[in-house]
Protein backbone atom coordinates (compact mmCIF):
# COMPACT_ATOMS: atom_id res chain seq x y z
CA UNK A 1 0.00 0.00 0.00
CA UNK A 2 3.09 2.17 -0.15
CA UNK A 3 1.87 3.79 -3.37
CA UNK A 4 -0.52 6.06 -1.47
CA UNK A 5 2.45 7.81 0.08
CA UNK A 6 4.20 8.26 -3.27
CA UNK A 7 2.71 11.71 -3.99
CA UNK A 8 4.54 12.84 -0.85
CA UNK A 9 7.67 10.73 -1.17
CA UNK A 10 8.43 11.66 -4.78
CA UNK A 11 8.57 15.44 -4.23
CA UNK A 12 10.54 14.80 -1.05
CA UNK A 13 13.14 12.81 -2.96
CA UNK A 14 13.22 15.44 -5.69
CA UNK A 15 13.87 18.18 -3.13
CA UNK A 16 16.89 16.26 -1.84
CA UNK A 17 18.24 15.70 -5.33
CA UNK A 18 17.71 19.34 -6.25
CA UNK A 19 19.48 20.60 -3.14
CA UNK A 20 22.62 18.84 -4.29
CA UNK A 21 22.37 19.77 -7.95
CA UNK A 22 23.36 23.34 -8.43
CA UNK A 23 23.21 23.57 -12.21
CA UNK A 24 19.97 25.25 -13.23
CA UNK A 25 19.87 23.37 -16.54
CA UNK A 26 19.78 19.97 -14.87
CA UNK A 27 17.41 21.32 -12.23
CA UNK A 28 14.90 22.23 -14.92
CA UNK A 29 15.02 18.83 -16.55
CA UNK A 30 14.76 17.08 -13.21
CA UNK A 31 11.81 19.33 -12.42
CA UNK A 32 9.99 18.38 -15.59
CA UNK A 33 10.81 14.68 -15.27
CA UNK A 34 9.78 14.66 -11.63
CA UNK A 35 6.44 16.28 -12.25
CA UNK A 36 5.80 13.83 -15.09
CA UNK A 37 6.38 10.96 -12.70
CA UNK A 38 4.08 12.61 -10.17
CA UNK A 39 1.36 12.92 -12.77
CA UNK A 40 1.72 9.27 -13.77
CA UNK A 41 1.48 8.25 -10.12
CA UNK A 42 -1.63 10.37 -9.69
CA UNK A 43 -3.25 8.67 -12.70
CA UNK A 44 -2.32 5.25 -11.35
CA UNK A 45 -3.74 6.08 -7.92
CA UNK A 46 -6.91 7.32 -9.52
CA UNK A 47 -7.47 3.98 -11.24
CA UNK A 48 -6.69 2.19 -7.99
CA UNK A 49 -9.38 4.23 -6.26
CA UNK A 50 -11.83 3.38 -9.03
CA UNK A 51 -11.13 -0.28 -8.32
CA UNK A 52 -11.19 -0.22 -4.53
CA UNK A 53 -13.24 2.85 -3.54
CA UNK A 54 -11.13 4.00 -0.56
CA UNK A 55 -7.42 3.37 -0.14
CA UNK A 56 -5.92 3.62 3.32
CA UNK A 57 -2.35 3.52 4.57
CA UNK A 58 -1.60 3.55 8.29
CA UNK A 59 1.78 5.19 8.74
CA UNK A 60 4.32 3.30 10.78
CA UNK A 61 1.95 0.41 11.32
CA UNK A 62 0.12 2.29 14.06
CA UNK A 63 -3.52 1.51 13.56
CA UNK A 64 -6.01 4.36 13.36
CA UNK A 65 -6.96 6.32 15.39
CA UNK A 66 -3.54 6.23 17.06
CA UNK A 67 -1.31 6.71 14.08
CA UNK A 68 -1.53 8.98 11.09
CA UNK A 69 -3.67 7.57 8.32
CA UNK A 70 -3.31 8.47 4.69
CA UNK A 71 -6.66 8.14 2.98
CA UNK A 72 -7.44 8.36 -0.69
CA UNK A 73 -11.07 8.49 -1.72
CA UNK A 74 -12.68 9.78 -4.90
CA UNK A 75 -12.51 13.44 -3.97
CA UNK A 76 -8.86 13.38 -2.94
CA UNK A 77 -7.79 11.29 -5.90
CA UNK A 78 -9.59 13.63 -8.30
CA UNK A 79 -7.89 16.61 -6.68
CA UNK A 80 -4.57 14.80 -6.79
CA UNK A 81 -5.05 14.00 -10.46
CA UNK A 82 -5.92 17.57 -11.38
CA UNK A 83 -3.13 19.13 -9.38
CA UNK A 84 -0.71 16.57 -10.83
CA UNK A 85 -1.77 17.63 -14.30
CA UNK A 86 -1.32 21.31 -13.46
CA UNK A 87 2.05 20.72 -11.85
CA UNK A 88 3.16 18.86 -14.93
CA UNK A 89 2.16 21.64 -17.30
CA UNK A 90 3.49 24.44 -15.10
CA UNK A 91 6.86 22.74 -14.75
CA UNK A 92 7.14 22.80 -18.54
CA UNK A 93 6.06 26.43 -18.64
CA UNK A 94 8.67 27.26 -16.02
CA UNK A 95 11.41 26.02 -18.32
CA UNK A 96 11.70 29.31 -20.16
CA UNK A 97 9.94 31.66 -17.80
CA UNK A 98 12.31 30.88 -15.00
CA UNK A 99 15.04 31.09 -17.56
CA UNK A 100 18.66 31.17 -16.63
CA UNK A 101 18.36 33.92 -14.07
CA UNK A 102 20.44 32.87 -11.08
CA UNK A 103 17.77 34.26 -8.77
CA UNK A 104 15.48 31.49 -9.86
CA UNK A 105 17.94 28.63 -9.70
CA UNK A 106 16.31 27.32 -6.52
CA UNK A 107 12.81 27.60 -7.94
CA UNK A 108 12.18 23.90 -8.30
CA UNK A 109 13.14 23.08 -4.71
CA UNK A 110 10.36 25.26 -3.38
CA UNK A 111 8.10 24.25 -6.23
CA UNK A 112 8.29 20.65 -5.11
CA UNK A 113 8.03 21.61 -1.45
CA UNK A 114 4.78 23.29 -2.35
CA UNK A 115 3.63 20.27 -4.33
CA UNK A 116 4.51 18.03 -1.39
CA UNK A 117 2.40 20.17 0.91
CA UNK A 118 -0.52 20.22 -1.51
CA UNK A 119 -0.44 16.47 -2.14
CA UNK A 120 -0.02 15.79 1.54
CA UNK A 121 -3.04 17.84 2.47
CA UNK A 122 -5.12 16.06 -0.17
CA UNK A 123 -4.33 12.57 1.06
CA UNK A 124 -3.99 12.91 4.80
CA UNK A 125 -6.68 11.57 7.10
CA UNK A 126 -5.56 13.37 10.21
CA UNK A 127 -6.36 16.94 11.15
CA UNK A 128 -3.01 17.72 12.70
CA UNK A 129 -1.16 16.18 9.78
CA UNK A 130 -3.26 18.40 7.55
CA UNK A 131 -2.04 21.38 9.54
CA UNK A 132 1.58 20.30 9.03
CA UNK A 133 1.09 20.01 5.28
CA UNK A 134 -0.63 23.35 5.24
CA UNK A 135 2.43 24.88 6.87
CA UNK A 136 4.81 23.14 4.46
CA UNK A 137 2.76 24.55 1.63
CA UNK A 138 2.64 27.99 3.19
CA UNK A 139 6.35 28.25 3.93
CA UNK A 140 7.34 27.30 0.41
CA UNK A 141 4.72 29.62 -1.03
CA UNK A 142 6.25 32.50 0.97
CA UNK A 143 9.56 31.85 -0.69
CA UNK A 144 8.01 31.46 -4.12
CA UNK A 145 5.94 34.62 -3.95
CA UNK A 146 8.93 36.75 -2.98
CA UNK A 147 11.24 35.05 -5.45
CA UNK A 148 12.90 37.77 -7.45
CA UNK A 149 12.97 40.19 -4.51
CA UNK A 150 11.45 43.12 -6.34
CA UNK A 151 10.03 45.84 -4.14
CA UNK A 152 6.40 45.10 -4.85
CA UNK A 153 7.01 41.41 -4.51
CA UNK A 154 8.33 41.89 -1.01
CA UNK A 155 5.36 44.07 -0.21
CA UNK A 156 2.93 41.55 -1.63
CA UNK A 157 4.82 38.86 0.24
CA UNK A 158 4.35 40.62 3.55
CA UNK A 159 0.62 40.95 2.97
CA UNK A 160 0.28 37.38 1.83
CA UNK A 161 2.29 36.15 4.77
CA UNK A 162 0.58 38.11 7.51
CA UNK A 163 -2.95 36.94 6.77
CA UNK A 164 -1.88 33.39 6.12
CA UNK A 165 0.01 33.26 9.40
CA UNK A 166 -3.07 34.38 11.24
CA UNK A 167 -5.07 31.75 9.39
CA UNK A 168 -2.80 28.98 10.56
CA UNK A 169 -3.01 30.23 14.14
CA UNK A 170 -6.79 30.05 13.90
CA UNK A 171 -6.47 26.54 12.53
CA UNK A 172 -4.19 25.45 15.34
CA UNK A 173 -6.50 26.92 17.98
CA UNK A 174 -9.49 25.14 16.47
CA UNK A 175 -7.52 21.94 16.38
CA UNK A 176 -6.57 22.25 20.04
CA UNK A 177 -10.16 22.78 21.13
CA UNK A 178 -11.29 19.90 18.94
CA UNK A 179 -8.78 17.59 20.56
CA UNK A 180 -9.79 18.79 24.00
CA UNK A 181 -13.41 17.90 23.36
CA UNK A 182 -13.07 14.66 21.45
CA UNK A 183 -9.66 13.28 22.34
CA UNK A 184 -8.83 12.39 18.77
CA UNK A 185 -7.63 14.06 15.61
CA UNK A 186 -8.15 11.26 13.15
CA UNK A 187 -10.81 12.48 10.74
CA UNK A 188 -12.64 9.16 10.54
CA UNK A 189 -12.62 8.74 14.29
CA UNK A 190 -13.81 12.32 14.71
CA UNK A 191 -16.65 11.61 12.33
CA UNK A 192 -17.57 8.51 14.27
CA UNK A 193 -17.61 10.37 17.58
CA UNK A 194 -19.33 13.52 16.39
CA UNK A 195 -22.02 11.80 14.35
CA UNK A 196 -23.27 9.95 17.44
CA UNK A 197 -23.01 12.91 19.74
CA UNK A 198 -26.11 14.77 20.83
CA UNK A 199 -24.29 17.71 22.38
CA UNK A 200 -22.09 18.31 19.43
CA UNK A 201 -23.38 21.84 19.08
CA UNK A 202 -20.47 22.57 21.40
CA UNK A 203 -18.27 21.83 18.43
CA UNK A 204 -19.30 25.10 16.85
CA UNK A 205 -16.42 27.03 18.43
CA UNK A 206 -13.81 24.85 16.82
CA UNK A 207 -15.84 24.60 13.63
CA UNK A 208 -15.89 28.38 13.46
CA UNK A 209 -12.16 28.60 14.04
CA UNK A 210 -11.62 26.09 11.25
CA UNK A 211 -14.04 27.96 9.04
CA UNK A 212 -12.14 31.21 9.47
CA UNK A 213 -8.75 29.57 8.94
CA UNK A 214 -9.81 27.68 5.84
CA UNK A 215 -11.82 30.67 4.67
CA UNK A 216 -8.68 32.77 4.63
CA UNK A 217 -6.85 30.00 2.78
CA UNK A 218 -9.67 29.62 0.29
CA UNK A 219 -10.19 33.40 -0.06
CA UNK A 220 -13.92 33.55 0.63
CA UNK A 221 -15.84 36.73 1.19
CA UNK A 222 -14.84 38.66 4.25
CA UNK A 223 -11.40 37.07 4.34
CA UNK A 224 -9.99 37.31 0.83
CA UNK A 225 -8.09 40.59 0.91
CA UNK A 226 -4.64 39.07 0.89
CA UNK A 227 -5.19 37.47 -2.49
CA UNK A 228 -5.63 40.43 -4.85
CA UNK A 229 -2.94 42.31 -2.92
CA UNK A 230 -0.27 39.73 -3.50
CA UNK A 231 -0.96 37.34 -6.37
CA UNK A 232 -0.22 39.80 -9.13
CA UNK A 233 3.21 40.68 -7.81
CA UNK A 234 4.86 37.30 -8.21
CA UNK A 235 6.45 35.86 -11.31
CA UNK A 236 3.66 34.70 -13.62
CA UNK A 237 4.74 31.06 -13.34
CA UNK A 238 4.34 31.23 -9.59
CA UNK A 239 1.04 33.07 -9.89
CA UNK A 240 -0.41 30.45 -12.19
CA UNK A 241 0.68 27.70 -9.84
CA UNK A 242 -0.90 29.48 -6.88
CA UNK A 243 -4.04 30.39 -8.78
CA UNK A 244 -4.62 26.82 -9.83
CA UNK A 245 -3.81 24.97 -6.69
CA UNK A 246 -3.40 26.93 -3.46
CA UNK A 247 -6.83 28.35 -2.79
CA UNK A 248 -8.39 25.06 -3.84
CA UNK A 249 -6.66 23.30 -0.97
CA UNK A 250 -8.68 25.54 1.33
CA UNK A 251 -11.87 24.69 -0.54
CA UNK A 252 -11.00 21.00 -0.48
CA UNK A 253 -10.52 21.14 3.28
CA UNK A 254 -13.79 23.01 3.78
CA UNK A 255 -15.60 20.33 1.79
CA UNK A 256 -13.82 17.54 3.63
CA UNK A 257 -14.36 18.93 7.14
CA UNK A 258 -17.91 20.11 6.68
CA UNK A 259 -19.10 16.89 5.10
CA UNK A 260 -17.21 14.45 7.27
CA UNK A 261 -17.40 15.65 10.85
CA UNK A 262 -18.82 19.13 11.23
CA UNK A 263 -22.26 18.00 10.19
CA UNK A 264 -24.17 19.09 13.28
CA UNK A 265 -26.13 22.30 13.29
CA UNK A 266 -26.45 22.04 9.55
CA UNK A 267 -28.97 24.86 9.23
CA UNK A 268 -26.58 27.46 10.60
CA UNK A 269 -23.52 26.28 8.70
CA UNK A 270 -25.15 25.84 5.34
CA UNK A 271 -26.71 29.26 5.52
CA UNK A 272 -23.42 30.82 6.56
CA UNK A 273 -21.67 29.08 3.69
CA UNK A 274 -24.34 30.19 1.23
CA UNK A 275 -24.23 33.81 2.39
CA UNK A 276 -20.47 34.04 2.16
CA UNK A 277 -20.58 32.22 -1.18
CA UNK A 278 -22.99 34.80 -2.57
CA UNK A 279 -20.90 37.74 -1.42
CA UNK A 280 -17.71 36.08 -2.62
CA UNK A 281 -19.12 35.63 -6.12
CA UNK A 282 -20.53 39.12 -6.50
CA UNK A 283 -17.72 41.09 -4.91
CA UNK A 284 -15.00 39.15 -6.69
CA UNK A 285 -16.76 39.56 -10.03
CA UNK A 286 -17.46 43.25 -9.55
CA UNK A 287 -13.95 44.05 -8.37
CA UNK A 288 -12.57 42.24 -11.40
CA UNK A 289 -14.61 44.34 -13.79
CA UNK A 290 -12.94 47.64 -12.83
CA UNK A 291 -9.37 46.43 -13.14
CA UNK A 292 -7.12 46.96 -16.15
CA UNK A 293 -4.21 44.72 -15.24
CA UNK A 294 -4.71 41.21 -16.60
CA UNK A 295 -3.30 39.59 -13.52
CA UNK A 296 -5.51 41.64 -11.23
CA UNK A 297 -8.62 40.83 -13.22
CA UNK A 298 -7.78 37.18 -13.09
CA UNK A 299 -6.91 37.36 -9.38
CA UNK A 300 -10.30 38.81 -8.50
CA UNK A 301 -11.77 36.12 -10.67
CA UNK A 302 -10.23 33.42 -8.55
CA UNK A 303 -12.22 34.83 -5.65
CA UNK A 304 -15.44 35.09 -7.56
CA UNK A 305 -15.16 31.48 -8.68
CA UNK A 306 -14.40 30.22 -5.18
CA UNK A 307 -17.93 31.39 -4.42
CA UNK A 308 -19.40 28.77 -6.75
CA UNK A 309 -17.52 25.99 -5.04
CA UNK A 310 -18.66 27.13 -1.60
CA UNK A 311 -22.19 27.46 -2.96
CA UNK A 312 -22.14 23.78 -3.87
CA UNK A 313 -21.06 22.92 -0.35
CA UNK A 314 -23.70 25.20 1.15
CA UNK A 315 -26.58 23.67 -0.81
CA UNK A 316 -25.37 20.27 0.39
CA UNK A 317 -27.23 17.86 -1.85
CA UNK A 318 -25.41 15.09 -3.74
CA UNK A 319 -26.00 16.96 -6.98
CA UNK A 320 -24.64 20.22 -5.58
CA UNK A 321 -21.54 18.57 -4.18
CA UNK A 322 -20.93 16.83 -7.48
CA UNK A 323 -21.30 20.21 -9.16
CA UNK A 324 -18.87 21.80 -6.73
CA UNK A 325 -16.27 19.11 -7.38
CA UNK A 326 -16.80 19.41 -11.13
CA UNK A 327 -16.42 23.16 -10.78
CA UNK A 328 -13.21 22.92 -8.75
CA UNK A 329 -11.56 20.71 -11.32
CA UNK A 330 -12.76 22.77 -14.28
CA UNK A 331 -11.67 25.94 -12.53
CA UNK A 332 -8.22 24.70 -11.61
CA UNK A 333 -7.50 23.86 -15.23
CA UNK A 334 -9.05 26.90 -16.88
CA UNK A 335 -7.77 29.41 -14.34
CA UNK A 336 -4.19 28.23 -14.59
CA UNK A 337 -4.48 28.35 -18.33
CA UNK A 338 -5.66 31.98 -18.40
CA UNK A 339 -2.69 32.95 -16.26
CA UNK A 340 -0.32 31.08 -18.55
CA UNK A 341 -1.77 32.87 -21.57
CA UNK A 342 -1.44 36.16 -19.70
CA UNK A 343 2.21 35.28 -19.26
CA UNK A 344 2.59 34.66 -22.98
CA UNK A 345 0.86 37.96 -23.79
CA UNK A 346 3.13 39.81 -21.40
CA UNK A 347 6.11 38.23 -23.05
CA UNK A 348 4.88 39.44 -26.44
CA UNK A 349 4.02 42.94 -25.27
CA UNK A 350 6.18 43.39 -22.19
CA UNK A 351 3.29 44.41 -19.96
CA UNK A 352 0.19 43.13 -18.24
CA UNK A 353 -1.58 46.45 -18.49
CA UNK A 354 -4.47 46.07 -20.92
CA UNK A 355 -4.47 49.65 -22.18
CA UNK A 356 -0.97 49.19 -23.59
CA UNK A 357 -1.75 45.93 -25.34
CA UNK A 358 -3.62 45.38 -28.56
CA UNK A 359 -3.76 43.87 -31.98
CA UNK A 360 -2.89 40.37 -30.93
CA UNK A 361 -5.73 38.74 -32.86
CA UNK A 362 -4.23 39.69 -36.22
CA UNK A 363 -0.68 39.21 -35.16
CA UNK A 364 -0.98 35.94 -33.28
CA UNK A 365 -4.30 34.25 -33.99
CA UNK A 366 -3.11 31.06 -32.36
CA UNK A 367 -2.56 32.79 -29.01
CA UNK A 368 -6.00 34.36 -29.36
CA UNK A 369 -7.52 30.90 -29.73
CA UNK A 370 -5.51 29.72 -26.75
CA UNK A 371 -6.94 32.55 -24.69
CA UNK A 372 -10.50 32.27 -25.81
CA UNK A 373 -10.83 28.60 -24.81
CA UNK A 374 -10.12 28.96 -21.08
CA UNK A 375 -11.79 32.36 -20.99
CA UNK A 376 -15.02 31.02 -22.43
CA UNK A 377 -14.68 27.96 -20.23
CA UNK A 378 -14.55 30.24 -17.19
CA UNK A 379 -17.46 32.28 -18.42
CA UNK A 380 -19.49 29.13 -18.99
CA UNK A 381 -20.05 29.00 -22.73
CA UNK A 382 -21.11 25.57 -24.00
CA UNK A 383 -19.63 23.14 -24.93
CA UNK A 384 -16.68 23.98 -22.68
CA UNK A 385 -16.22 22.63 -19.17
CA UNK A 386 -17.47 25.70 -17.30
CA UNK A 387 -20.93 25.51 -18.79
CA UNK A 388 -21.59 22.07 -17.37
CA UNK A 389 -20.07 22.93 -14.00
CA UNK A 390 -22.29 25.98 -13.63
CA UNK A 391 -25.29 24.19 -15.07
CA UNK A 392 -25.07 21.42 -12.46
CA UNK A 393 -24.70 23.91 -9.63
CA UNK A 394 -27.60 26.04 -10.79
CA UNK A 395 -29.78 22.99 -11.32
CA UNK A 396 -28.94 21.84 -7.80
CA UNK A 397 -29.80 25.30 -6.47
CA UNK A 398 -33.19 25.34 -8.16
CA UNK A 399 -34.01 21.79 -7.12
CA UNK A 400 -33.28 22.58 -3.51
CA UNK A 401 -35.13 25.94 -3.71
CA UNK A 402 -32.17 28.20 -3.05
CA UNK A 403 -33.39 30.81 -5.51
CA UNK A 404 -31.40 33.81 -4.30
CA UNK A 405 -28.01 32.16 -4.54
CA UNK A 406 -28.97 30.68 -7.90
CA UNK A 407 -29.85 34.10 -9.28
CA UNK A 408 -26.56 35.47 -7.93
CA UNK A 409 -24.70 32.61 -9.59
CA UNK A 410 -26.31 33.34 -12.94
CA UNK A 411 -25.57 37.06 -12.67
CA UNK A 412 -21.97 36.39 -11.68
CA UNK A 413 -21.59 34.27 -14.78
CA UNK A 414 -22.48 37.40 -16.75
CA UNK A 415 -19.91 39.43 -14.81
CA UNK A 416 -17.29 36.81 -15.62
CA UNK A 417 -18.22 36.92 -19.25
CA UNK A 418 -17.95 40.72 -19.14
CA UNK A 419 -14.40 40.76 -17.85
CA UNK A 420 -13.29 37.98 -20.14
CA UNK A 421 -14.67 39.91 -23.09
CA UNK A 422 -12.91 42.97 -21.76
CA UNK A 423 -9.55 41.21 -21.86
CA UNK A 424 -10.44 39.87 -25.29
CA UNK A 425 -11.39 43.29 -26.63
CA UNK A 426 -8.47 45.13 -25.16
CA UNK A 427 -5.69 42.67 -25.76
CA UNK A 428 -6.76 40.93 -28.92
CA UNK A 429 -9.37 42.90 -30.87
CA UNK A 430 -8.43 46.54 -30.55
CA UNK A 431 -5.48 47.96 -32.44
CA UNK A 432 -2.12 48.25 -30.80
CA UNK A 433 -1.95 51.68 -29.12
CA UNK A 434 0.30 53.84 -31.24
CA UNK A 435 2.42 55.35 -28.54
CA UNK A 436 3.85 52.01 -27.43
CA UNK A 437 6.62 50.45 -29.40
CA UNK A 438 6.25 46.76 -29.98
CA UNK A 439 8.77 44.25 -31.02
CA UNK A 440 6.75 41.98 -33.29
CA UNK A 441 9.39 39.32 -33.77
CA UNK A 442 9.33 37.94 -30.25
CA UNK A 443 9.64 34.23 -30.78
CA UNK A 444 7.55 31.96 -28.65
CA UNK A 445 9.21 28.75 -27.62
CA UNK A 446 7.52 25.41 -27.69
CA UNK A 447 7.67 25.03 -23.91
CA UNK A 448 5.79 28.28 -23.41
CA UNK A 449 2.86 27.45 -25.62
CA UNK A 450 2.62 23.70 -25.10
CA UNK A 451 1.26 23.84 -21.51
CA UNK A 452 -1.52 26.17 -22.61
CA UNK A 453 -2.37 23.85 -25.45
CA UNK A 454 -2.73 20.79 -23.26
CA UNK A 455 -4.69 22.70 -20.64
CA UNK A 456 -7.01 24.06 -23.32
CA UNK A 457 -7.48 20.54 -24.67
CA UNK A 458 -8.32 19.41 -21.15
CA UNK A 459 -10.93 22.15 -20.87
CA UNK A 460 -12.50 21.05 -24.14
CA UNK A 461 -12.35 17.39 -23.19
CA UNK A 462 -14.03 18.07 -19.87
CA UNK A 463 -16.81 19.75 -21.80
CA UNK A 464 -17.18 17.08 -24.47
CA UNK A 465 -16.91 14.18 -22.06
CA UNK A 466 -18.96 15.94 -19.41
CA UNK A 467 -21.30 12.98 -18.88
CA UNK A 468 -18.75 10.34 -17.86
CA UNK A 469 -16.87 12.92 -15.87
CA UNK A 470 -20.05 13.97 -14.12
CA UNK A 471 -20.55 10.33 -13.12
CA UNK A 472 -17.15 10.41 -11.46
CA UNK A 473 -17.92 13.55 -9.51
CA UNK A 474 -21.27 12.08 -8.52
CA UNK A 475 -19.43 9.08 -7.20
CA UNK A 476 -17.21 11.41 -5.19
CA UNK A 477 -20.26 13.27 -3.88
CA UNK A 478 -21.92 9.99 -2.94
CA UNK A 479 -18.87 9.10 -0.85
CA UNK A 480 -18.94 12.49 0.80
CA UNK A 481 -22.62 12.28 1.68
CA UNK A 482 -22.16 8.84 3.18
CA UNK A 483 -19.19 9.14 5.56
CA UNK A 484 -19.72 5.58 6.83
CA UNK A 485 -17.69 4.28 3.91
CA UNK A 486 -14.77 6.48 4.82
CA UNK A 487 -15.03 5.67 8.52
CA UNK A 488 -15.21 1.94 7.91
CA UNK A 489 -12.25 1.96 5.58
CA UNK A 490 -10.04 3.88 7.99
CA UNK A 491 -11.13 2.32 11.25
CA UNK A 492 -11.31 -1.20 9.85
CA UNK A 493 -9.98 -2.75 13.04
CA UNK A 494 -12.32 -1.07 15.49
Amino acid sequence: MIEIALPILIPFTLIIILIFIRSSVYAKWIGIAGSTVLFVVAVYLFFQVRKQDVLVLQMGGWEAPFGISLVLDYLSSLMLLTSGFLVFSISIFAYHFIGNKPKFSRFFIFFFALVMGVNGSFITGDVFNFYVWLEVMMLSSFVLITMGSKKEQLEGGIKYMSLNLIASLFFLAGLGLLYGKTGTLNMAHLAQILNNDQQSILMNTSAMLFFIALGIKAAIFPLFFWLPASYHTANITVTSLFAGILTKVGVYALIRFFTLFFVQDAYFWHNLLLISAGFTMVIGGMAASIQYDTRRILSYHIISQIGYMIMGLGIYTPLALAGAIFFIIHNMIAKTNTFLVAGIVSKLRGTFYLKDIGGLLKERPFIAVLFIIPAFALAGIPPLSGFFAKFILIKAGIEDRHYVITIIAVLTALLTLYSMIKIWNEAFLKKQPEKSIVDTDVKLRFAEVFPSVILALASILLGVLAAPFFDLTQEAARQLMDPDLYIKAVLSNM
Binding site: I2, I19, M59, G60
Partner: protein, 138 residues
Amino acid sequence: MNSIILQIASKYLRIIFLLFAFIALFRGHNQPGGGFIGGLLAALYIVYDSLAFTSDQIKQQLKVRPESYMGVGLLCVLLSFLPSIVTGAPLMQGAWLSVDSSVFGEIKLGTPLLFDLGVFIAVMGVTLMFLFTLSTKK
Protein backbone atom coordinates in the same frame (compact mmCIF):
# COMPACT_ATOMS: atom_id res chain seq x y z
CA MET B 1 32.36 41.48 18.70
CA ASN B 2 36.09 41.19 18.81
CA SER B 3 36.83 39.70 22.20
CA ILE B 4 39.87 37.54 22.67
CA ILE B 5 38.33 35.81 25.66
CA LEU B 6 35.30 34.71 23.70
CA GLN B 7 37.45 33.59 20.79
CA ILE B 8 39.66 31.38 22.92
CA ALA B 9 36.78 30.10 24.98
CA SER B 10 34.80 29.14 21.91
CA LYS B 11 37.47 26.59 20.98
CA TYR B 12 36.78 24.61 24.13
CA LEU B 13 33.13 25.39 24.48
CA ARG B 14 32.25 24.01 21.07
CA ILE B 15 33.26 20.53 22.21
CA ILE B 16 30.93 20.79 25.17
CA PHE B 17 28.10 22.13 23.04
CA LEU B 18 28.48 19.36 20.50
CA LEU B 19 28.76 16.68 23.18
CA PHE B 20 25.62 17.92 24.82
CA ALA B 21 23.86 18.02 21.47
CA PHE B 22 24.73 14.40 20.78
CA ILE B 23 23.65 13.31 24.24
CA ALA B 24 20.30 14.99 23.61
CA LEU B 25 20.09 13.23 20.26
CA PHE B 26 20.82 9.75 21.54
CA ARG B 27 18.65 9.76 24.62
CA GLY B 28 15.77 11.14 22.63
CA HIS B 29 13.95 7.90 21.92
CA ASN B 30 12.66 7.21 25.40
CA GLN B 31 13.53 10.33 27.33
CA PRO B 32 13.34 14.09 26.76
CA GLY B 33 15.61 15.11 23.93
CA GLY B 34 15.70 14.16 20.29
CA GLY B 35 16.80 15.30 16.90
CA PHE B 36 15.25 18.73 16.90
CA ILE B 37 16.60 19.76 20.27
CA GLY B 38 19.97 18.24 19.49
CA GLY B 39 20.11 20.09 16.21
CA LEU B 40 19.33 23.39 17.88
CA LEU B 41 22.04 22.77 20.48
CA ALA B 42 24.53 21.93 17.78
CA ALA B 43 23.62 25.08 15.90
CA LEU B 44 24.10 26.98 19.12
CA TYR B 45 27.82 26.39 19.00
CA ILE B 46 28.04 28.07 15.64
CA VAL B 47 25.87 30.91 16.88
CA TYR B 48 28.29 31.26 19.76
CA ASP B 49 31.21 31.22 17.37
CA SER B 50 29.59 33.89 15.26
CA LEU B 51 29.38 36.07 18.33
CA ALA B 52 33.08 35.60 18.94
CA PHE B 53 34.07 36.03 15.32
CA THR B 54 32.01 37.47 12.47
CA SER B 55 29.54 35.31 10.65
CA ASP B 56 31.46 35.68 7.38
CA GLN B 57 34.51 34.14 8.99
CA ILE B 58 32.40 31.30 10.27
CA LYS B 59 30.93 30.78 6.85
CA GLN B 60 34.40 30.34 5.38
CA GLN B 61 35.46 28.12 8.24
CA LEU B 62 32.51 25.78 7.76
CA LYS B 63 33.29 25.04 4.09
CA VAL B 64 29.98 23.20 3.76
CA ARG B 65 27.00 25.25 2.68
CA PRO B 66 24.06 25.22 5.11
CA GLU B 67 21.88 23.93 2.26
CA SER B 68 24.06 20.85 2.02
CA TYR B 69 23.42 20.15 5.69
CA MET B 70 19.72 20.30 4.92
CA GLY B 71 20.18 17.99 1.97
CA VAL B 72 22.13 15.43 3.97
CA GLY B 73 19.62 15.62 6.79
CA LEU B 74 16.66 15.09 4.50
CA LEU B 75 18.55 12.24 2.84
CA CYS B 76 18.96 10.53 6.22
CA VAL B 77 15.23 10.93 6.81
CA LEU B 78 14.50 9.40 3.42
CA LEU B 79 16.93 6.54 4.07
CA SER B 80 15.18 5.78 7.32
CA PHE B 81 12.04 4.99 5.30
CA LEU B 82 13.91 2.49 3.14
CA PRO B 83 13.81 -0.59 5.42
CA SER B 84 10.06 -0.34 5.74
CA ILE B 85 9.69 0.08 1.97
CA VAL B 86 11.97 -2.85 1.17
CA THR B 87 10.41 -5.26 3.63
CA GLY B 88 6.90 -4.28 2.63
CA ALA B 89 6.01 -3.21 6.16
CA PRO B 90 3.78 -0.15 6.61
CA LEU B 91 5.65 2.99 5.68
CA MET B 92 7.82 4.47 8.42
CA GLN B 93 7.55 1.39 10.63
CA GLY B 94 10.71 1.16 12.72
CA ALA B 95 13.25 -1.51 11.93
CA TRP B 96 15.65 -2.43 14.70
CA LEU B 97 19.06 -3.98 14.73
CA SER B 98 20.70 -5.21 17.90
CA VAL B 99 24.45 -4.97 18.10
CA ASP B 100 26.31 -6.76 20.87
CA SER B 101 29.36 -4.81 21.80
CA SER B 102 31.67 -5.78 24.61
CA VAL B 103 32.04 -2.23 25.88
CA PHE B 104 28.52 -0.85 26.07
CA GLY B 105 26.51 -4.04 26.23
CA GLU B 106 23.61 -4.47 23.82
CA ILE B 107 23.06 -1.46 21.59
CA LYS B 108 19.83 -1.10 19.67
CA LEU B 109 20.18 0.70 16.39
CA GLY B 110 17.00 1.52 14.53
CA THR B 111 15.54 3.61 11.79
CA PRO B 112 14.11 6.09 14.34
CA LEU B 113 17.70 6.95 15.22
CA LEU B 114 18.50 7.55 11.57
CA PHE B 115 15.38 9.68 11.31
CA ASP B 116 16.41 11.66 14.37
CA LEU B 117 19.89 12.08 13.01
CA GLY B 118 18.40 13.44 9.80
CA VAL B 119 16.28 15.89 11.74
CA PHE B 120 19.37 16.85 13.75
CA ILE B 121 21.42 17.69 10.67
CA ALA B 122 18.55 19.38 8.86
CA VAL B 123 17.64 21.56 11.83
CA MET B 124 21.27 22.54 12.17
CA GLY B 125 21.36 23.47 8.48
CA VAL B 126 18.16 25.47 8.65
CA THR B 127 19.27 27.37 11.72
CA LEU B 128 22.62 28.14 10.14
CA MET B 129 21.00 29.25 6.92
CA PHE B 130 18.72 31.64 8.75
CA LEU B 131 21.59 32.84 10.89
CA PHE B 132 23.72 33.66 7.89
CA THR B 133 20.83 35.25 6.02
CA LEU B 134 19.95 37.48 8.92
CA SER B 135 23.46 38.40 9.99
CA THR B 136 25.04 39.13 6.61
CA LYS B 137 25.07 42.81 5.90
CA LYS B 138 24.88 43.97 2.34
